[in-house]
């Protein structure tokens, strides 16, 4: 697995040039291509009674996006990177998916995307929609959080959440490909309260603990062999809460999780830790789909 090309989606309100520059640590992991995408929402230029299609407005938005992208691109070109750009009109998620396909990117970077409350109730957030529909890793980049600005290199200290499903292997492979950009990896597995409640005695609990610690150690060994500074951690409790707690305790700069593709209804019934954290977490969160190509 190699990270050669990144898609940077920006509406210029949430992700700015410094966010882009902070991701340049990925160059140490081999990235040398960036594709910019700005999607002009249909609502902004759609037909209006009396005025028709807002061609002038479209032109104005395109010009603004073009000027910003040229400024960003100049910075990256001067560092010897390849930069391409797309300014398109449409709905954000389908456009991200189509440009991902056209450009053959290895990573999608986007800000967290919400919908109106009522729409979100039945359709979920746009972030969840994107995560459900793509087979590429997605970095939900919240570089401006309530507690201030995220550091210069979001890849510096990763909290790697593993649940021992098929997606965990993909997550580990992807983290290995980030070598060079990452300084430390804290690997965390959370035993859920439900699973603990099922155990009938202390010995059973110890067995579960030992089994999970052994698996964590195995993953840790793989990373240490590749010269990562890696530490295993076993937590018990609500998975979402414990992952956030772990990230805080280990001063992580990013959470990395796997995800299985689920239908919207299945996700509503059974929930998805990764999607839920992607919608809520203050830290940047990298979601690696199990179906990654």
């Amino acid at each position: 697995m190699k990270i050669n090309k990144m898609l940077f989606v920006s509406e210029f309100e949430e992700l700015w040039l410094d966010a882009l520059q902070s991701l340049m640590s990925l160059r140490k992991a081999g990235m040398n291509n960036v594709a910019f995408l700005h999607v002009i929402s249909r609502d902004k230029v759609a037909m209006r009674r009396g005025t028709g299609y807002l061609k002038q407005e479209e032109r104005k938005i395109r010009e603004i996006a073009d000027i910003r992208f040229i400024d960003w691109a100049e910075t990256l070109y001067e560092e010897g990177m390849e930069v391409v750009a797309h300014i398109v009109i449409g709905n954000i998620v389908p456009k991200i998916l189509s440009v991902t396909e056209i450009e053959g990117v290895d990573l999608i970077v986007t800000a967290r995307r919400k919908r109106a409350k009522l729409e979100e109730l039945y359709a979920g957030s746009e972030t969840s929609d994107l995560l459900r529909r793509t087979d590429k890793p997605v970095l939900i980049y919240n570089y401006l959080s309530q507690s201030g600005k995220v550091g210069d290199n979001p890849f510096e200290r990763l909290l790697l959440g593993l649940d021992w499903t098929e997606s965990s292997e993909k997550v580990l492979d992807y983290v290995l490909a980030l070598k060079g950009a990452v300084k430390r990896v804290d690997i965390i597995h959370v035993i859920s309260e439900k699973d603990v409640a099922k155990l009938s005695n202390k010995m059973e609990a110890q067995k579960v603990e030992r089994k999970n610690k052994k698996r964590l150690d195995e993953v840790c060994d793989v990373l240490i062999k590749e010269k990562f500074d890696a530490r295993p951690h076993l937590y018990i409790g609500n998975t979402e809460e414990q992952i956030e707690k772990g990230a805080s305790e280990h001063r992580s700069t990013m959470i990395v999780l796997g995800a299985k593709r689920k239908s919207i209804w299945k996700e509503k019934w059974s929930g998805s830790v990764s999607h839920s954290l992607a919608d809520k977490s203050e830290l940047p969160i990298l979601i690696i789909p199990a179906e990654i190509k």
């Binding site: 040229i70 070109y77 750009a85 450009e103």
Partner: protein, 130 residues
């Protein structure tokens, strides 16, 4: 026989502008919307000159320029850069690419920063193509 000029440009307004200048000055315009299509058109059409933008989808003008100038069969085709990206950035990027191991490439025949006046473009084309 009229000379063929390939314009590699993603912006429709600039494409229309360049096409008009080319036709009015007796050249045959060929269009491509990004660097990848541009390279295909170079191989198919063997243009006499290329007008090249930089920031485009799929492949930038900088990458295409390096491909052109490092391919023995294409390196002699004159290139006029026409972009909103500054010449200084273009030259720095070329230097950076050389540092990363790419072959050294010569400077383009002309570098025009957008916007350009039609008579300036026409004069440069005339100077290069005769």
């Amino acid at each position: 026989m009229a000379k063929k000029v390939l314009n590699v440009e993603d912006d429709p307004d600039t494409r229309t502008f360049v096409t008009t200048v080319l036709e009015e000055n007796g050249y045959i315009p060929i269009m491509a919307v990004d660097g990848e299509e541009g390279m295909e058109k170079v191989r198919e059409e063997r243009p006499d000159l290329i007008i090249l933008d930089i920031l485009m989808p799929r492949e930038s003008g900088i990458k295409m320029y390096h491909e052109l100038k490092t391919d023995p069969s294409m390196k002699d085709i004159p290139v006029v850069m026409l972009s909103a990206v500054s010449k200084r950035t273009f030259l720095r990027s070329t230097a950076a690419l050389t540092e990363f191991g790419d072959e050294t490439v010569p400077e383009p025949q002309a570098y025009l920063e957008k916007p350009v006046e039609p008579e300036d473009l026409a004069e440069i084309l005339k100077n290069i193509l005769g």
